[in-house]
Amino acid sequence: MKKLALALLTGVLALNLAACGNTSSNAGGDNNGGSSSSGKRTYFMNPKSIGPAYWAAAEKGAKKAEKDLNVSVLFNAPTEADSAKQINMIQDMLTRKVSGIGVSPNDAKAVGPVFKKAASQDVKIVTWDSDAPETDRQYYVAPGTDQEVGELLAKTIGEEIGGKGQVAFMVAGLGSQNQIAKSDAAKAYFAANYPEVEVVTTVASDDDQQKAYANAQNLIKTYPDLKGIIGFAGGEPPAAAEVVEQAVKAGTLEKNQIAITGIAVPSVVKNYIKNGTIKTDIIWDPGKLAYVTVYLLDQLAQGKEITDGMEIPSVGTIKVDGQNVFIGTLEVTNENVDSFDF
């Protein structure tokens, strides 16, 4: 009991300290208007997680914006795509009194409360890559909507396989919202446009490359008539392509028997595209996505307007539709694969 009392006492003491510290920092903070001491505007860019190549490419864009706009950008996220940890981190950053946050939420609903809090502190909020509608976010920056992307993927594969046959979906996580939204859109698109396409199953890798690989192996084993695979996250298309290439080499599959498309960073799938295993890969430049997000945050923080068709340096014009900002998707093919630097 004594020990616990001691522990609590320490806690109370620390809080007192904190209270003192708070007033003093407030006193100092008033002078520079709540921004950091260097006087630069600071933005927190928060992807879903740290580690995947996709987010690493985005970080480069954010850093570029940091330099171009002469602001300070913090780029950080938990190591796993966990919304509780992500929100903890956003809360911490609100404490740091950043001028704006760019978030790619793991869970659209879960960020609601923390966005509300951020808005009440006059922190600008822009979501990017994944949206959180019905929250206090001001804009959503995306290549297109999840629906558009899903439909595009479905259209690509539908065309490649001639509109009929079995297709399998590979996703990063069965519980991941943007994965669900995209795959649902793809399913709906098949139902509407290619009724003869049958979606046989959806397998999840939990972002584990080896599991994705094993999943792909099991797919071609289980569904000998499989015509196409759509990989809805960065790790899935390369795994599928690797397996298919190996199977072709081993003679168990015919070349081009299975069409593969999906969302993947060009540098990762470069070889597969050159080999023709993947004909078309859908991607957008995550760096540009991040760049635009920082740019918008900076505009908002300075009280400037966001208008449709506005020109963003080193990105180009953007399309603004209500609160949505679209930078457009890219199709990576054999012809243009070498032109990407991410």
């Binding site: 009991m1 609590l8 620390a14 904190a18 950080n76 795509a81 404490t95 609903k109 879960a110 519980g175």
Partner: protein, 314 residues
Amino acid sequence: MSAWTSQFSLKSNKLVVQLVLLIFILVLFSILSPYFLSVTNFMNVLNQMVEVGLIAIPMTMIIISGAMDLSVGSILAFSAVCMGVAFERGINIWVSMGIGLLAGVLCGAVNGYLIARHRMQAIVVTIGMLVMLRGLVYVINEGRPISGFPDSFYFLGQQYIGGVPFNAIFLVVMFLIASFVMKKTRFSTYVYGIGNNEEVVHYSGISVVRIRFILFMLSGLFSALAGVFLMSRLASAEATSGTNIELDVITATLIGGTHIFGGRGSLAGTFVGLLIIVFLRNGLNLLGVSVLYQAVILGALLLLAVGNKKFNGV
């Protein structure tokens, strides 16, 4: 009082080290970051530590009793999703919460039944449950997050009372109750006894099976509670919530001085260990240190804090 606890002399000495470490961290970050030392920040941290903290309570007891429960994260998600699904079916939110808690207790009971009654290895059983329950979560809600709970429910995780988050108050109260239980009641003697020598407790006419069973049920209940609070804080029940939370919980417990082989440890220590972890994370976040290095720092801290102690009997 102090005399009554002093028999675990190893326990009491350790706490001083942890407190020094905690104060060191607090002072360090106060110097390094102008944002660290503020009431809002501290309240934030308290608000964030609740789920790990709630689970750490039974985990400490279970580790003291010489076992381990790795399935807590999956139980958390399972009960949260059960509650969400119940709510979606139109059941009153508080009744749904009861269902969620019940689900957690049931999972704990399954663990307890296999481990206590059939003397199976706790680590193995709970790894199995970890995989199975996480799978069941996907079966139940097909991976879709559940949200749209009434505002009254958000009280649990988002409301502040007198500037202090309600869930943090709840956590502290739980820690005080649990600490009381682990000091003043006979249950504590049994738990420490089982951790030191299970057979003697059995030969003293005390049902070891029942104590172990209760411990795992408690673990289920608290994991479910953590699930409820997480749902309320995030306003959403997700299939992935609580993944790897067991590692955080065990790390906090170990840094708090609980002996990995059982028999020794205290809830006060765990509480301090918890504060060390959350403040460390928070401070590093505020400094903008990438999570990658945070992991390295946490690992090094674990080695330092726990590693320099004597582990006799091995």
